[in-house]
Symmetry: C2
Subunit: 266 residues, 2 copies
């Protein structure tokens, strides 16, 4: 279906604006992704928005035309609106802006097959949506199965996390679980839990990584809780030559993931 919105007070405008807020995303079970590149990545990964939003009279683009056709063929909506109304929705003054509304994915542990990939990334209480999106992007690059978010993490469906993922939110599995639930699931089958740690740790270059390998990083300020580190099968340590003894969480995950990939590959 195709329709045009002419008023600021249209309920669809309110709905779209509400998706910037976590509470409303959860109520609606929907999230926003912005930009033609991101929407094209989603489409190429087999994910179409339920609703595609753009300015009336937006310049034609072959990728946009393909997206529109697919959304309409799948029974979705293409919604056009004045530039001024679109700016209110996207928060940006860009008449070329495009946005899509997607149904949130099922993020339960039960949805993933741990043996579908050698590497999985795990983040505990990660608060920064940019770090979260960056971890998804790194997961895509190393061929990980997905990102498992433990305890109270930033929302993987926020506009910021989706943007920082550069489309990887559509290719990587995203799981949300409490630690107890994750630990029970992990121990019910084969799987190696690994964290960077200073506690009784091995050199990360020489550690015996084993697939499926779950690489875990902790909160940006506090790191991992002690009990989580102790529960790991493997604790590894990376050189820290400076004044500080830590890396950005997404950086630490990436250095570990590339190291594990070199060991598990082939």
């Amino acid at each position: 279906m195709r329709r045009t919105i002419t008023g600021f007070s249209n309920p669809t405008v309110k709905f779209l604006r509400s998706l910037r807020d976590k509470k409303h995303r959860r109520q609606e079970q929907r999230f926003l992704a912005e930009g033609l590149r991101l929407l094209t990545d989603a489409r190429e990964s087999g994910r179409l928005p339920e609703m595609l939003v753009m300015a009336t009279g937006r310049e034609a683009h072959p990728l946009l035309a393909a997206l529109e056709a697919d959304v309409l063929a799948a029974g979705g909506e293409v919604v056009e609106m004045d530039e001024a109304i679109l700016a209110k929705v996207t928060g940006k003054d860009n008449p070329q802006a495009v946005a899509g509304v997607f149904a949130e994915f099922d993020t339960r542990l039960a949805t993933i097959d741990r043996n579908s990939a050698k590497i999985w990334l795990v983040a505990q209480a990660l608060r920064d949506p940019g770090n979260l999106g960056t971890m998804l992007r790194t997961g895509d690059a190393v061929g990980a199965g997905g990102l498992i978010l433990l305890d109270d993490c930033a929302d993987p469906f926020s506009v910021e996390a989706v943007r920082a993922s550069m489309g990887a939110v559509f290719t990587q599995a995203v799981v949300q679980a409490r630690w107890e639930e994750f630990e029970g699931w992990l121990r019910a089958a084969q799987g190696q839990l690994v964290a960077a740690s200073l506690r009784d740790a091995q050199d990360y270059r020489r550690a015996p990584y084993a697939a499926p390998c779950f690489l875990m990083v902790g909160n940006e300020s506090r790191g991992l809780p002690e009990a989580y580190e102790i529960a790991c099968d493997l604790r590894v340590t990376m050189p820290m030559r400076g004044r500080a003894d830590s890396l950005n969480a997404a950086v630490a995950a990436a250095v570990l993931a590339y190291e594990a990939l070199a060991h598990l590959d082939g």
Copy 2:
């Protein structure tokens, strides 16, 4: 000197607020760092603020007391103000906030000794202050000499970059230069320029890294200009197993830096 500010229109309040703006930072040759932890890191690295700012009646803290004593001993100012005025300065409603005003460092190429470290990080047209700060933090962790910013990068002295560096802005050298200037300087002595590239590149795990090794990443959207890639002594490639063919710039720099460290170490 110790003084108390009671009015919102005090020139010092205006001066402090102006430092959130790049143009004013450049004019004043000063920048802001916020938070007791960051200021303590700076102090431990031998950098004291010219002015230390806090709320009147802030709770006592031994690290703050040490900082105050050092600032006063060095001829600096300790400035106290109402919580409401402080909130206007920091943009945060936190009566425990502390901020310091630092003189900007000399960021010319001439200030660094390339042989003082095996690894140097180089960023070209990096736009995100968070990425810039994260690269400084990674540089600290791998024992790099510093971060060389080429062309139009984000400001390393912005509040966001300073915060993301987690204090590494005080331990790593920060250089700002145009490409032509950098290339001339680089080629005037020994130094290996390395970039991640798909062009005629070697496996990043087996590449012949050599100190002093300059690891370069490009702009978040466009990557490195072709001419810069061609000018490299070594082009390396990392596995890209996913849909995308790139990593976050700060992540790519970190994976390369840890790999180079393992080769150059010892």
